[in-house]
C-alpha cells in the first residue's frame, strides 16, 4: 500500500527531474554571435568607387571599385569544448547599404569559448574541388576555373596619377597564401567588431608602388607578396571602428 511519505517522495522526485531537465534545456540553448567586419584603408573607412587612398609606395592615389574576400573554417575553442562552424565558407563583401560585412554564427549552448580561429582564403582541400559549400560557388565571381581554384581576395580599382588612369586588378589565390589567424574572445558578448585593413595588403614589407605592380593574378611571387598581408589584415576593434 502506498504511504503518504511515498507520494511526497515521488512528487519531489518528479519536481527534481523537471528542474534538471529545464536547466539542461536552458543551458543547451544555442546562442548567436554576430561578427561585424568594418573595411578600412589605413585609418580611412572604405568608400567603394568614391574614396581615394594614397599609393602606398609611389605617387598618386587609388580608388577601389570592388573588394571581396573569403573567410573560412571558423572554429571556436574553450577549455573543454571545440566547435567547428559547418560549411564555413563566407564571402565577405561590402557593397551594401551599411558598407560592412555581417556574419551571424550559432554557437552551441552550455559551453564557453575563449578563442576564435578562422582562415582567410579557401583551404587547399576545398580549393582543389568544385564542391558547393557555404558561399563557395564554382560559377561565382571568386572562381577562376576548376583547375586553378578560387580567388581568396578580389580587389579591383584604379590608380590616378595626374591625367593617367591605371586599372588595378588584384586577384590573389593559391594554396600557399591560405592564412589562418586567431582572436581571443572577450567573455559574454554577442557582437564582435573586426577591422579589415586593406592597406595591409600593400604594406606587409616594403610598401608596394601600385604603378609598378598594378595587377596580380597568376604570378606566384606577386601573389605571395600581397598574400603576406593577410595575417595582419584583420584585427579586433571595440567600438572605435564602428563610429
Amino acid at each position: 500500500m502506498k504511504t503518504r511519505r511515498d507520494s511526497v517522495k515521488s512528487i519531489l522526485l518528479a519536481m527534481a527531474f523537471f528542474m534538471v531537465t529545464a536547466c539542461q534545456w536552458w543551458q543547451a540553448k544555442p546562442s548567436t554571435l554576430v561578427l561585424r567586419f568594418y573595411p578600412f584603408v589605413g585609418d580611412s573607412p572604405l568608400a567603394l568607387s568614391s574614396g581615394l587612398y594614397p599609393n602606398p609606395g609611389g605617387e598618386g592615389s587609388y580608388s577601389i571599385r570592388d573588394f571581396q574576400f573569403f573567410i573560412s573554417n571558423l572554429k571556436f575553442k574553450g577549455k573543454e569544448a571545440e566547435h567547428r562552424v559547418p560549411q564555413s565558407y563566407h564571402l565577405a563583401r561590402f557593397d551594401n547599404q551599411q558598407g560592412i560585412y555581417e556574419l551571424a554564427i550559432t554557437l552551441p549552448g552550455g559551453q564557453e569559448f575563449d578563442l576564435m580561429e578562422l582562415g582567410i582564403g579557401v583551404d587547399p582541400e576545398a580549393n582543389g574541388t568544385i564542391t558547393v559549400a557555404g558561399d563557395l560557388d564554382p560559377n561565382g565571381r571568386m572562381a577562376w576555373s576548376w583547375d586553378v581554384g578560387y580567388k581568396f581576395i578580389l580587389l579591383e580599382g584604379r590608380l590616378n596619377q595626374g591625367d593617367k588612369l591605371l586599372p588595378l586588378v588584384y586577384h590573389v589565390g593559391f594554396d600557399e597564401n591560405y592564412t589562418t589567424t586567431a582572436f581571443s574572445l572577450p567573455g559574454d558578448t554577442d557582437v564582435l567588431n573586426l577591422k579589415v585593413d586593406i592597406a595591409r595588403l600593400f604594406t606587409a614589407n616594403t610598401p608596394v608602388d601600385l604603378a609598378s605592380l598594378p595587377t596580380v593574378k597568376f604570378d606566384r611571387a606577386d601573389a605571395a607578396r600581397i598574400g603576406e598581408g593577410l595575417n595582419t589584415m584583420l584585427s579586433m576593434c571595440k567600438d572605435e571602428c564602428a563610429e
Partner: protein, 377 residues
C-alpha cells in the same frame, strides 16, 4: 452527468473535430498540381532556388508552355512570347531589335532563355526585374511588345475550358498573378545541359584540338608575367554556366561598347549608382552560335565581330570594367589602346569553343516546343 449528456457532449466534440480537420484541409491544401517529375540539372551548375510560393508542378509548367506560345496574350492576338523567343534560336529571334504589336523595333535585342535558374537573378538587360514572375508581365503589357491589358486577358482566358481547368488545378483560378507564375514555371524548366561542352565535362567526349585550345583561352585571364595567354572570357562568363555571376549585380558589367559621352544608363537606371552607367547584364553563352546578333542592342552580327570588339575595339569610359581595361596578351595596356591582342588563330579557337556550347537537344526538345502545333499534338 447522465449517459445522454455524455453522448451529446461526445458527439459535439466529434463534430468540432471533424469540422476543424476539414477546414484545416481546405485551407492547407490550396490548389496545387503534381510536383514536376524528372526535373534534373547538372551538378556543376550549383544551387538554385525556386520560390516557395510557386513550386514547379506538372500543371503549372504545362500551363506556362501554352501561355508562352499563345498569341492571345497580345492585344492583337498575333504576338506570343515565342514570337521573340523561338526555340530553334535558343529562344531569341535573330533580329537586332525585336518587333511586337506596334511594329516598332525595340532598342534591345531579345535575350536567350536558357538556364534561367542560375546566373543573375535580375532580369532584362538592365536588371530591372528581380524575379521571373515579375518579369513575365512587363513585355505582356508594354505597348511596343504585346500591348495586352491584363484584365482583358484574364477574361479572355476564362472563355477557354482548357485554361480554366489547368489554372484551377495549378493555382485555383486565373489572375494576372497566376499567369505570371505559370510563365515563370515553364521558363525555369528551360535547362540547356547537353552541348558538346557538357558532354566533355561529363567525360563522354573529347574536344578537338582547336576547341580545347579555345576552351583554355576562354578560361584564362591573360598574364604576361606568368606567360599565360587568355581570352579573358571567364572574368565575366562563369566556367560552367557561361553566364554572368549570380550574386547581387556581379553579373553586370560595362564591356566597353561605348565611350564616356555615349554611355547608356544601363544598370544605373535601376540602382541610381553613377558607377553603373553603361553596365549591362552578362548573358549566358550557351547556344551563342545560334543567337546572333549580339550585345544588348544587337550591334554585332557575327561572333567574329564580337571577338574583334574585345581585340582592339574597346571604348574607354569611367565605368569600363578594369578587368577588360587591363587584359592584354602583350602586357602593354598602358599605351592607351585597350586590346586583348589575341592572334587571329587564337580568336578562331575561342569561336570554335563557343560552337561547342550549342545544344541540339535543347533546341529541339519537344517539352519546350509549341503545344498548339500539329507536331506537338
Amino acid at each position: 452527468m447522465s449517459k445522454r449528456q455524455v453522448v451529446l457532449l461526445a458527439t459535439a466534440f466529434a463534430a468540432v473535430a471533424v469540422f476543424s480537420t476539414l477546414s484545416f484541409l481546405l485551407v492547407n491544401t490550396a490548389p496545387q498540381g503534381k510536383p514536376l517529375k524528372n526535373f534534373t540539372a547538372p551538378f556543376v551548375y550549383g544551387r538554385f532556388a525556386i520560390p516557395p510560393d510557386n513550386p514547379l508542378t506538372e500543371e503549372g509548367v504545362e500551363l506556362g508552355r501554352r501561355l508562352f506560345y499563345d498569341p492571345r496574350l497580345s492585344s492583337n492576338n498575333q504576338v506570343s512570347c515565342s514570337t521573340c523567343h523561338q526555340q530553334s534560336l535558343a529562344f531569341t529571334d535573330g533580329l537586332t531589335g525585336s518587333v511586337g504589336v506596334s511594329g516598332k523595333p525595340l532598342a534591345f535585342n531579345s535575350m536567350s532563355l536558357a538556364n534561367l535558374l542560375w546566373g543573375p537573378q535580375f532580369f532584362f538587360w538592365n536588371g530591372r526585374s528581380d524575379s521571373l514572375e515579375q518579369q513575365a508581365l512587363i513585355p505582356l503589357q508594354h505597348p511596343d511588345e504585346m500591348g495586352q491589358d491584363l484584365d482583358e486577358l484574364v477574361q479572355e482566358l476564362e472563355q477557354d475550358t482548357t485554361y480554366r481547368q489547368l489554372f484551377r488545378i495549378a493555382y485555383g483560378g486565373i489572375s494576372a498573378e497566376t499567369i505570371a507564375k505559370a510563365l515563370a514555371s515553364f521558363q525555369r524548366t528551360l535547362v540547356s545541359a547537353n552541348s558538346r561542352y557538357d558532354q566533355f565535362l561529363r567525360g563522354e567526349i573529347q574536344l578537338t584540338e582547336q576547341e580545347e585550345w579555345g576552351r583554355k583561352l576562354f578560361m584564362a585571364h591573360p598574364d604576361t608575367k606568368a606567360s599565360l595567354r587568355g581570352g579573358n572570357c571567364i572574368d565575366c562568363h562563369s566556367q560552367f554556366l557561361t553566364s554572368g555571376f549570380n550574386t547581387k549585380f556581379d553579373g553586370f558589367i560595362n564591356n566597353g561598347l561605348d565611350d564616356e559621352a555615349n554611355l547608356s544608363p544601363g544598370l544605373a537606371e535601376v540602382t541610381g549608382n553613377e558607377a553603373h552607367r553603361g553596365v549591362f547584364k552578362t548573358p549566358t553563352l550557351r547556344n551563342i552560335a545560334v543567337t546572333a546578333p549580339y550585345m544588348h542592342d544587337g550591334r554585332f552580327q557575327t561572333l567574329e565581330q564580337v571577338l574583334k570588339h574585345y581585340n582592339g575595339g574597346i571604348k574607354p569610359s569611367k565605368t569600363l570594367s578594369p578587368l577588360i581595361a587591363e587584359a592584354d596578351n602583350l602586357g602593354n595596356f598602358s599605351d592607351g589602346k585597350i586590346s586583348l591582342n589575341l592572334r587571329e588563330e587564337e580568336a578562331q579557337a575561342i569561336i570554335a569553343f563557343l560552337h561547342t556550347l550549342t545544344d541540339e537537344t535543347f533546341l529541339t526538345d519537344p517539352r519546350f516546343s509549341n503545344p498548339f502545333s500539329d507536331k506537338a499534338k
